[in-house]
Symmetry: D2
Subunit: 395 residues, 4 copies
């Protein structure tokens, strides 16, 4: 049932063997349910709930009882077949348990994993998507989110790799030896705790890459969940003026942006973004610009033209590898710094979680829809619909 | 003869009045030659040597006896009428004394200027092109090269602004109160000392903006005088591997790049730059890329594709405000930092001058042609010819 | 009456001559009151109100109608003779108009000064204490607060330097050509606007030198006005946990610290600071420590021992040049960065003013006492008393 | 013989069991010598060569055939009993295989280790001393040298922890799963390759923490092997002027410093260091100061007083936890940044190795003495003697 043509987890292949042999007996002895239900994307447009043997945990790994898994824009693209799950770019498509924004309770954990991760069974944790090698030059320099050897990332690894349960859209998610977890306040509603992922992006983009400082004018292009989290992060870090753009159809999101502290909103398909920014800032333009829109070309130009001389532009919106015509002289003549936002790191997640736990912002307003595991497709379609903000599945 | 419809220097308008009234008498009393010869660009394609009254120096300003003035690529563009001199963008074209890379000896200097600048009559100095306001937010933050109030910049200010002699292509250049000067070793040949300007650019681009560190692989796109100076700066700062691109016609420049420590050269019109960089670095690509080519689009794409994940790309080549089609996803997915190189600052000039004075590199090899003031047009055409590297005029 | 044995202002000596000759006549013609009352410190412990001729404003300078001048701890030390006013360290003591935290309305301003400073007569401004040369290496690098050529600083320059009115404890303060001013909201109460100075310090120490980032634990040693402003700045920049120390006698200040968002306060003369920090942080210690206490040795040791591995310690409290016994191995073994906080810069003042203008914090609570010009000694003694927080004089 | 009261390696406890049970038989089958000779420090002042079973390598670990192990000043202190080996601070003293600067050839390596480390059997590598957990906050941020969970560091771990061979003073050194290795040029003499360790320190202190930039004046206090490596690193990174201090007894080292590019040397026990630095720099003082002397108090004061306003001071010399009387006002008034130099990281070692491999400096001149394994005590005493520079043991 579980062919292992692809390589197992980096630190401990023994788990594979264990899982494929002695499992049912052990489980029966332990009096635990011996199967786990998970939403498997079998092909583009096809997600079905399947059952898998419950993994046996060894000294270096663990098992998460998933409380909530946030749905991400990339889940939509992967479901539609527009995007391949990370790590599967090279090979043929393999069925996989979807979901890479998981949080829940550590159900079981090995001794060494407990020591390494600093958590125990019963602790509530948020789990990072990336499982890096922890050993390469980038990992050793603290840029593990760019680890070229990362594999078995959550929500992307095929069910052919034991123990199959790599995604968060499942009752239990496997925590392999290289996993990175963050303790998170058990008192938070699960759907709010699940916001650690988009909020981590907001913190990294606005604070770390954008370097928002006290009194800065920050322009956020795009009013999705990550745009709104960027507004919150910018506010939390002391931004003086926050401006957000969205489409006319995003009226609800823009209203929410204002509730979270945006001073101005721009309807990008009705107004001239650059002219409005110029007007709103008395010609000073923005100190920091975050470009977060997916697939759209014009906002990149708007980003460059809305940044003040010496300003910073953070690019996070992917464009399907399209060429975008840009006046690079603007970058030169305005002495801009343009930063590509690749991944989120431990520090950003940690700061995001601290911000969530501080309850300083009414983050529950970001959450619009909750679904059960059986409703995974509905959850994805709801996010795709465009009016939802944060959507989570609660297995 | 000297209408003053345009505003005079920032700190001291009295000079204007002095120059327009009592000059000849004072000079006669002083026994000094009372006129100064200067190369005036009267219109695109028209440069002629004219005579001007020798400026009277007050307490806040000074006069430079020009030893050498380097010719810059922008002089070529301005001569041809493709580019307007800085500060003249808005108004109609005005005749001006050209030359913005001047060095020489302080002939006269006011008491307050001497205190402010830390130099005395007889000192040899290099003069920065920009004359900033010293008072705005950018000046106070150390980014005076971006001062929005800068004016009366050298080699760009009309002869209608007293005392007319704002450019380095003249026997004497006026040093207005906001001028920035750097003492420079009197023992250096003037044409080598005149290299402070391109070398300042090389230091800023490679070291400050590119942040070259020990052992880095540095790719320099473009083998002009600034490209070669960037090679030298990268080497001086401990780069491990330096790669330079040029055209087939630049064979001599590429050979010189190798003499200055470039490990590899790429003939950009015959080879695939990105493929070669990949090959030469064993797939690691470049830590730092400097894009210095004027007007060309392809090197910008090459720059992005030749940079390693997490690398830095410095853009300094202007493209005539053209749109260049770019895959911005490369910036995002490679976590690149793209920096616009606008201007050179005091620290870069200072470090460049220290490097020149150290005589650690045989910089005289960069210098290919010297001309007299009467030969200014020939000097500009020589640089425009493409085979010259550093060209200077010695009034 | 005004011997000019000491040198006049850097950019414009003419003021000296003007002031010493034609003043009374001009003023009479202009119909303006021709004298200005100012509090002069004639000797340690001796402050008396004297009258001075109203300065004549030229093209490069201006005159401030002082609304409020904050009293600083250094005013106390200078009044007592424990400290020499900045710039007077070398020579014999000279009577001077005290006060270096002035704000008010631009009464008169020269054309060139208006252009340079970007303000007009009638504008309300805060005035920086330092008058730098704007031309040296440090000024050009943006570190003008450390300008070695600064002179004629406010509240420190002798009355022998025309036009005598260099301090803020006067009806009018002279604005010399190199002065740095910041526009400030006319709607603010003057005593709140006068907080720009300690708030500038708080922003620089906590945000710029301390680099407080989202969720950081910040320890502030010292609960004076600058300590409280540091608490506010840390909070504004997103600190997660703020701890403040004070003496038992500072109970009111510590209560105010809590009102401004400090999570914990430590009574340093009754509790073990390091042990408490360890306890409050669960052993994690502080990410950023600000040592602001004057003259005390122990807090420096506390600062080092309260900082986490890799943390930052900002030293701002002067110790009368005393030697303090320190275990430097703590700096090495904890990989600490210890930063000396010298002066405040334009950016910090600007961000501080933006913070004040945002009215996000109830800063008026920091202000405890207002006095008239005649009550200057009382104002100084009130601050010296220890229970006051922010004290200002309103001439 | 091998009690396991202390915990085994982080990632793979199985090694312990394997080593303590099935070893001899396996080795005999493999036809390999089944014992390894190693220099064990049994107690302060007692080092003896003992034999250990050759470790069996599993999938996650490896075995290094040691070519050379550099002797460090801390080896002297540990030998004398003045210092406890890292990680043994808390418990009673345990015999251990000394040596933490090992390089050699990978003799055996597990599959997973080979993938993780990017090396194969037969590759020549330098081995980092620290074996971090790779999982904590500091490791994930790239500061693994400060990992609080590090253990089984090389040259410090007791022989009671299987497989005993944790130090470089042995024929073979065990490479546990968390080990960090760097490939190094097989063409280098082993004693030169062994310089990766002090050179890593020089690079980190001068370049990364000191941030030496083009033309800087760098003062190095202390002329030991790390001082000389700092001179070389500063030179390689473009320092303009390098000054080194040493004692009169260090004449040979100071002469070597000059050979490596130091411009000036100061005999600290005969000259006034601060006065000389002031004189040599024309009053400018040093941009960067590295304080590397062990146990001495005065150089710390010299370091602060020799740094220019705004300069950087790197403290690396440990003082036995002594209190040193310091005028902290110097730090404040000079706006100094004082940085504690704790450990060396991957990037510094990598850049150091690239510098060694470049053969740009005649590093073999740093090496003064080579010894065999039996001569370990002699090697340590030779370094302790004070005239040796780099000493290595070649097992």
């Amino acid at each position: 049932m579980m062919p292992s043509g692809r390589r197992g987890p980096r630190y401990d292949f023994r788990v594979v063997e264990a899982a494929s042999t002695s499992l049912p007996g052990l489980l029966r002895l332990a009096g635990m349910a011996d199967t786990v239900r998970a939403a498997v994307q079998a092909a583009p447009g096809v997600i079905e709930v399947r059952e898998f043997p419950r993994p046996v945990v060894g000294p270096d790994d663990g098992l998460l009882r998933v409380e909530a898994n946030g749905v991400c824009g990339s889940d939509v693209e992967i479901y539609r077949g527009h995007l391949r799950p990370m790590g599967q770019e090279g090979g043929g498509p393999v069925p996989f348990v979807a979901g890479h924004e998981a949080m829940g309770v550590v159900e079981e954990i090995g001794d060494r994993a407990a020591g390494r991760w600093g958590v125990r069974a019963g602790d509530r944790v948020a789990v990072e998507i990336i499982v890096p090698c922890h050993a390469c030059r980038r990992c050793l320099a603290g840029h593990y989110q760019s680890c070229p050897n990362r594999r078995y990332n959550h929500g992307a690894t095929g069910i052919d790799v034991a123990p199959s349960l790599w995604g968060g859209l499942a009752e239990y998610m496997y925590l392999s030896p290289g996993t990175i977890v963050h303790p998170i306040d058990p008192g938070l509603p699960a759907e709010v705790a699940a916001l650690f992922n988009p909020m981590g992006a907001g913190v990294r983009w606005a604070c770390h890459l954008g370097r928002v400082s006290l009194g800065d004018t920050v322009l956020v292009l795009g009013a999705g969940q990550r745009g709104l989290c960027s507004v919150i992060a910018a506010r939390a870090a002391g931004a003086g003026r926050v401006i957000v753009t969205g489409l006319a159809a995003d009226a609800r999101k823009l209203a929410l942006a204002r509730e979270f502290g945006a001073d101005h909103t721009i309807v990008a398909d009705e107004e001239d973004t650059v002219a409005r920014v110029r007007e709103l800032t008395g010609g000073d333009l923005a100190d920091v610009v975050l470009e977060l829109t997916p697939m759209a070309a014009e906002p990149v130009t708007d980003a460059l033209l809305s940044a003040r001389h010496g300003g910073r532009v953070v690019l996070a919106g992917l464009k399907g590898d399209r060429e975008i015509p840009l006046r690079t002289d603007v970058i030169v003549n305005r002495a801009l710094t343009v930063v590509g936002a690749y991944g989120v790191d431990h520090r950003a997640y940690r700061e995001a979680i601290a911000l969530i736990e501080s309850r300083r912002f009414a983050l529950e307003k970001l959450h619009t829809h909750s679904f059960g595991l059986e409703e995974t497709v509905k959850a994805i379609e709801t996010l795709a619909g465009g009016t939802a903000i944060h959507v989570s599945v609660h297995p």
